[in-house]
């Protein structure tokens, strides 16, 4: 009966799962609603299916068999940014990130979608992201295309929109690619300066090494200045974060195993990561591979050695002398730094040590900017709404630059500022730290 109150008897106790992936965590949600106003999609739409509590409820209802995976449910789950702001506020400790990953994998299984969507996924997850070489090749092609002036033409003609899924999406996402020198790989070993404090392995990332080689260089220089010997393991690929968030569970497992193998060989004290999505994901390898007896222990050990670059650097005061950087900046917290890894004070503490730098707080600094991995490719409308919200707050601070710590956020905020014709610039935290060193080393 439609309107009955409390007439339903629940399924007997038993672990809840979606096709083998546990979602037992849904039972930790006590439906208090304290997470609602912290969820960017709920704040924008006001619909509870687009809130953490609502999504958890949908996942629970799916697992209990109360509902089938219909179009509406899939849409609400896919609209989730996986920003994990809800995890930060949830007093009950609901492991939301795991639940949504399982749900997205289920969507892929049950509703793989049409040819366009499958091509998009195959190109991204299967081809480009699994191999930095392939991504580099694609990047080289893209660079030639951009340089030829064709890019502007394509954008203007609206051809980009008509080009099928992926290429158009990457076209919009990628900034002007740096020159070849910037894209060249880092040396395999960068020695520590001064007293050596640790040997660290640097994740050079997949998209990152192609688009943002400069960040990796700055990271390596700053780490070396802080006394770290930096190894850059050859043959490293994608960590699998985008695959996992996109519901491509099988390939995520494979990429995780490969990453662990590559980094173990580097024999470092820590694995330093400067892209937040990767760092948060690699810290969760222990959970990801928990059911694989051959890998579980290795994965846990590896995960424990992963640190975000800000987390690592903030452990000791910056080694001076530092040169002033006269600028007013504001800091945007990348989701997978602040929510995924609970790193909030470290970047601010580091910035505070740079002489001459004035840091003003950003309203909703820990709200997703809409970049969210491939989200701005798959959900352009919501991504743009959140970008506009973010840029509005940035402009309200009057800061000359936004400092953040993740390539996706940098691209997204840059695009938003450009769209408003604003002059403010966007930096990775390590770029600013790098600037603070007098006449930096190589």
């Amino acid at each position: 009966m439609a309107h009955a109150v409390q007439e339903q008897t629940r399924a007997a106790a038993g672990p809840l799962a979606l096709h083998g992936l546990s979602v037992e965590g849904v039972n930790q949600c006590v439906h208090c609603g304290l997470c609602l106003a912290s969820c960017p999609t709920f704040a924008e739409l006001g619909t509870e299916m687009d809130s953490p509590r609502g999504r958890i409820f949908l996942i629970k209802s799916l697992a209990e068999g109360r509902i089938a995976l219909g179009e509406a449910t899939a849409r609400h789950l896919e609209l989730c940014l996986d920003c994990r702001a809800c995890e930060t506020v949830c007093p009950a400790g609901v492991p939301y990130g795991r639940l949504i990953e399982a749900a997205k994998a289920e969507i892929e299984r049950q509703r793989p979608g049409g040819a366009g969507r499958r091509l998009f996924r195959w190109l991204n997850f299967g081809v480009l992201l699994t191999s930095p070489r392939r991504l580099a090749l694609a990047a080289a092609g893209l660079r030639a295309y951009q340089a030829s002036g064709l890019a502007r033409l394509v954008r203007r003609s609206g051809l980009a929109r008509r080009l099928s899924g992926t290429l158009a999406a990457w076209e919009a996402l990628l900034p002007p690619l740096p020159r070849r020198a910037e894209r060249a790989p880092l040396p395999a070993l960068i020695p520590a300066e001064g007293a050596r404090r640790a040997r660290v392995a640097l994740l050079s990332g997949c998209v990152q090494s192609v688009v943002f080689g400069a960040h990796n260089r700055a990271t390596a220089r700053v780490l070396a200045r802080q006394g770290a010997e930096v190894v850059v393991p050859a043959g490293q690929g994608c960590c699998g974060a985008l695959n996992a968030h996109g519901g491509d569970h099988a390939r995520a497992l494979e990429l995780a195993r490969r990453t662990i193998e590559t980094f173990e060989a580097a024999r470092a004290d820590a694995v330093v990561v400067n892209t937040s999505g990767c760092g948060a994901h690699m810290k969760a390898y222990g959970h990801l591979l928990a059911d694989d007896p051959a890998w579980a222990a290795r994965a846990r050990r590896f995960a424990a050695s992963v640190v975000d670059v800000a987390e690592f650097l903030a452990r000791e005061p910056l080694r001076g002398p530092l040169t002033p950087v006269a600028m007013t900046v504001t800091y945007h917290d990348p989701c997978h730094v602040v929510h995924g890894q609970k790193i909030r004070s470290e970047p601010r503490r580091l910035l505070a040590q740079i002489p001459g730098l004035r840091v003003v707080e950003l309203a909703e600094s820990d709200w997703c900017c809409g970049s969210a991995g491939l989200y701005n490719l798959t959900q352009p409308e919501m991504a743009t709404r959140l970008r506009e919200r973010k840029v509005g707050h940035v402009l309200a601070t009057g800061a000359e630059a936004v400092v953040t710590a993740n390539p996706g956020c940098i691209l997204q905020i840059q695009a938003g500022l450009a769209a408003r014709g604003a002059a403010a610039r966007v930096f990775h935290l390590v770029e600013l730290l790098d600037r603070a060193y007098p006449a930096a080393t190589p």
Binding site: V30, G33, P91
Partner: protein, 491 residues
């Protein structure tokens, strides 16, 4: 209650979309399911539609349509209510106010703000905080709940002890009456002529219409605040300390109690600094002018020590104070660490009965084979026993309901009330006769009919009805005068 046919549903949907737009009507059963509960998952009810108006005019048009179609309707804010107040007990329309969440005006000179009902409570304080103001009523759910919900439930909070409840802070309301007419109650000043209709509307639990604009008072932030944490090895000692503080004529802004089970959940959640081995802790806050505050704090510390506190300390800085409050305010949610579900009770008792009632509550819940966590506004004598349970275990929900009923009877017996701030809603309607006579209830019914003659606006709430009796579960066993008069029935 009629079940809508598919064709009528389709035509209704078109009409609703004509009012609020296509993206603002939910009718898919999977989506409606998400709206089946509020913060109390024990009760569930499904709507036929959930709609998202953006203006008073749209709300009014929706209400008129509902009247024409004899369709029940109910307002919903954030759905953090704890008594099923926003559930569509008889189906029909759920009117969500979440897209009406703007601060329309802040008048600092006159210390007031005009806001829309979907505004989140805490967001108002954020908006005016930079200028040194805040909105005083602070339900523990303030990071999520809306002012519309607060108005409807006349919500309180830890600082109610000194600052009063929502009604003390509302100056005026724009309301869409249950027949669709838009009226203003009260205004922008405290002086009023005629009946105090704002006072009547606040606390009417969404049965007198839908608030679409709210004029609230703003207060200046107190120049000084001091927060004391007192730790006890016995609950009785903590209860005694509460009485001692009040008996010494001290007026703290808040006196909150939190017991061991709750401390453990909260510490698991955020590591807030409550000692895990304490039987209970009191969080006492003083605010106001700095002058004399030290002396007051010293007297509070002394009162706690005299009552047997093993440790009393003052929050060193704002960060520590915030963390202690974060623990207190997250307590309900933190039960998710130790239990898949809970039901919060909301009894009010005379403060002097605190030790006795707490003991009895623990006995009652244990006798039903369940666990209970207590975290509550001790200064007001407003108890919140949280009965923990697992809905997947057959029979547990029934035992929860039975234990809850026994606790409500206990509160009534000691001269208290069955609800302090969470509202009667669907959950406690059958227990109204415990505290109100037939004449009381009849008067309330007459008042309700004056506002809501058709009963279409939020039906099934507050008053004991035969329907809710059958569905909500066991009710008080003692027959009540109201039944003899035929005003209500019990099964």
């Amino acid at each position: 209650m009629a079940v809508l046919t598919e064709s009528r549903k389709a035509s209704l949907r078109r009409e609703l979309e004509a009012i609020v737009g296509a993206g603002a009507v939910l009718a898919d059963p999977d989506e409606l399911l998400v709206y089946e509960s509020d913060g109390l998952t024990l009760l569930r009810a499904l709507a036929d539609f959930v709609v998202f108006p953006v203006s008073a005019e749209q709300v009014s048009a929706l209400v008129r349509l509902a009247n024409r179609e004899s369709l029940p309707f109910v307002a919903r804010g954030a759905g953090t209510g704890l008594s099923g107040g926003c559930l569509p007990a008889e189906g029909g329309l759920v009117i969500s106010l979440m897209r009406m969440n703007r601060v329309l005006e802040v008048d600092y000179d006159n210390q007031l703000a005009v806001v829309e009902p979907g505004l989140v409570n805490l967001h108002l304080s954020w908006t005016v905080g930079a200028r040194g103001y805040y909105y005083a009523p602070d339900p523990s759910s303030q990071q999520a709940c809306t002012l519309g919900g607060n108005i409807a439930n006349n919500s309180g909070g830890p600082h109610t002890l000194k600052y009063g409840v929502t009604t003390n802070h509302v100056l005026g309301l724009e309301v869409v009456l249950p027949d669709g007419e838009i009226v203003w109650l009260g205004g922008r000043t405290r002086a009023r002529a005629g009946y105090d209709l704002v006072g009547v509307f606040v606390g009417s639990e969404g049965t007198f219409g839908i608030a679409t604009k709210i004029v609230v008072r703003l207060l200046r932030k107190p120049p000084a605040v001091k927060t004391v944490l007192a730790v006890f090895d016995a609950i009785d000692h903590a209860s005694a300390a509460v009485s001692a503080i009040i008996a010494r004529g001290l007026v703290p802004a808040a006196v909150e109690m939190i017991d061991q089970l709750t401390i453990q959940a909260v510490e698991d959640a955020f590591g807030c600094g409550y000692p895990r081995d304490a039987a209970a802790a009191l969080l006492v806050e003083l605010d106001g002018l700095p002058f004399g505050m030290e002396a007051q704090a010293a007297r509070i510390v002394q009162a706690c020590r005299d009552a047997g506190a093993r440790e009393v300390r003052t929050a060193r800085d704002e960060a520590e104070r915030q963390l202690l409050w974060k623990g207190r305010k997250s307590a309900f949610g933190a039960y998710g660490r130790i239990s898949p579900a809970y039901m919060v009770m909301d009894g009010v008792i005379p403060r002097t009965k605190l030790p006795y009632v707490l003991r009895r509550v623990n006995e009652i819940v244990a006798a039903h084979g369940l666990r209970v966590g207590n975290v509550f506004h001790a200064g007001d004598g407003n108890l919140h026993p949280n009965i923990l349970y697992d809905p997947r275990r057959p029979g547990e929900e029934a035992r929860v309901v039975a234990a809850g009923a026994a606790i409500m009877r206990l509160c009534a017996e000691v001269g208290g009330s069955i609800s302090g701030e969470h509202g009667i809603g669907l959950e406690k309607s059958d227990f109204m006769p415990l505290i109100f006579s037939a004449a009381d209830l009849a008067l309330m019914q007459r008042l309700k009919r004056a506002f809501n003659p058709t009963g279409l606006c939020n039906p099934g709430k507050i008053f004991p009805t035969s329907k809710s009796c059958a569905e909500v579960g066991p009710v008080a066993s003692r027959p009540h005068a109201i039944e003899e008069k035929g005003l209500a029935q019990r099964f």
